[in-house]
């Protein structure tokens, strides 16, 4: 048997009878033609508007993406905190605190702060201890101390002014900070005079007056011609500003 015969046999033996099928299909098709034609017309009519709608939709999406992206970016820029590099440092925040030291006129009495129960100035967690003074060709240097609570973990900013003249007190040594405002020779050593003093309580000194506190020996100076009425302002992270005026040091 040829392949043609086999193929015929293979499909004819399972194919259903097609008797009446052509008429049935034609009847169905012809009956549905009006409906199909109507749908075709609608489709043809809607083809152009639908294409236009599709284009407009695409344009809307594109514009939406662009505008949305810009709005999102602006919103992010608006709500995002300033970059880390522009975050004010702890020291900058302390420096931003205003100086509240009083200004005295000529003849005013110096508002000295009495010593507290510990024989120190101020109150916890930062206290001032008077120290000795030496004179130089430039002016006078003192060696006071600052006592801090050992539980402090932030910075302590120390600023001082001559309350009569408004002249700033300078600081010398490792803890001195801020711009260099002058130089001098102290004990045969060339020193830089700076405007502020910063104590980092995370790196305390080894010496201490007693348990629970650290004692920071500092060097401060005042040029010749100033008064002996010196106001100290202590700004400590997490604590309010503290001001005291030690007993006048003779010039």
């Amino acid at each position: 048997m040829s392949l043609r015969t086999d193929v015929h046999t293979a499909f004819d033996e399972v194919a259903p009878s097609t008797f009446g099928m052509p008429d049935r299909v034609v009847r169905t098709v012809v009956a549905e033609l009006p409906e199909r034609r109507r749908k075709e017309r609608w489709f043809v009519r809607l083809r152009a508007p639908l294409s236009l709608v599709a284009v407009l939709l695409l344009l809307s999406i594109a514009v939406g993406v662009l505008v949305g992206g810009r709005v999102a970016r602006d919103w992010n820029a608006f709500t995002r905190p300033a970059p880390a590099g522009y975050q004010p440092t702890e020291l900058e925040r302390l420096e931003a605190r205003p100086l509240v030291l009083p200004s005295l006129k000529a003849g005013d009495t110096c508002p000295e702060t009495p010593l507290n129960q510990y024989g120190l100035y101020g109150y916890w967690p930062v206290l001032g201890a008077p120290g000795s003074a030496v004179s130089s060709a430039w002016g006078t240097y003192w060696y006071p101390a600052v006592v801090t609570d050992s539980r402090l973990t932030g910075l302590v900013l120390v600023r001082a002014r001559d309350l009569q003249s408004g002249q700033p007190v300078i600081f010398v040594g490792n803890s001195a900070t801020g711009p260099v405002v002058g130089t001098d020779t102290l004990n045969g050593v060339l020193i830089q005079q700076r405007r502020d003093l910063v104590l980092d309580t995370r790196h305390p000194p080894l010496n201490t007056l007693g348990p629970g506190s650290y004692t920071w020996g500092i060097t401060a100076g005042r040029a010749k011609g100033g008064s002996a009425c010196i106001g100290w302002q202590i700004d400590t992270t997490g604590y309010p500003t503290e001001v005291f005026v030690p007993r006048q040091i003779p010039t």
Binding site: R4, D6, A10, F11, V25, V29, L33, R36
Partner: protein, 178 residues
């Protein structure tokens, strides 16, 4: 200009009336169904395909510029519908499950051979199966098969030879083509 199953159709003025279209369509239904049935092996799906092909034919028949090619053109539409039906079977769950084993007790051996051949034809890809069905089952000449398949006669012949070798590897091609 549009190409449908190798038939170039042109825009022609006027439309075919429903009555005339019915007359044109009627003699094409049976070969269309046999083609669809052999391709899909599902009588219901085959009839649906022929019906859909008829609607497509109605939409485009006015553009057919050579009425003598109407049968080839229509069978080309049916073949395309069969391809789409097989593609869509995963989506619509069309069952192409004609039983391979028929309970024909009168000639069991012949029935088994037929089932084997149907399985072998079903394993061919669409284009190969189309050529085999048109040539062997619908007994169409090779040039018309080529027209429906949308390829050249030479390419169609090569496809037919290749398919025959797959169906009857132990029989010479020329012998099988008889």
């Amino acid at each position: 200009m549009e190409q449908v199953a190798g038939v170039k159709v042109l825009e022609m003025p006027g439309a075919v009336s429903e009555h005339d279209f019915g007359d044109l369509l009627r003699p094409l239904i049976e070969p269309g169904f046999r083609l669809a049935f052999a391709m899909l092996r599902d009588p219901q799906a085959a009839e649906d395909v022929v019906q859909e092909a008829s609607f497509t034919a109605w939409r485009k028949v006015a553009r057919l510029n050579d009425p003598s090619r109407l049968r080839a053109w229509f069978l080309g539409v049916v073949a395309n519908k069969c391809r789409n039906a097989r593609r869509g079977k995963w989506k619509v769950g069309v069952t192409l499950g004609l039983p391979d084993e028929l309970s024909v007790v009168s000639n069991e051996e012949r029935s088994m051979q037929g089932a084997d051949l149907r399985r072998a034809v079903a394993r061919l890809d669409h284009d190969d199966r189309l050529v085999v069905v048109l040539y062997f089952y619908l007994d169409m000449p090779l040039d018309e098969v080529a027209l429906i398949a949308g390829s050249s006669v030479a390419a169609t012949r090569a496809r037919l030879y290749r398919s025959v070798r797959r169906l009857r590897p132990d029989v010479a091609v020329q012998e099988a083509l008889k």
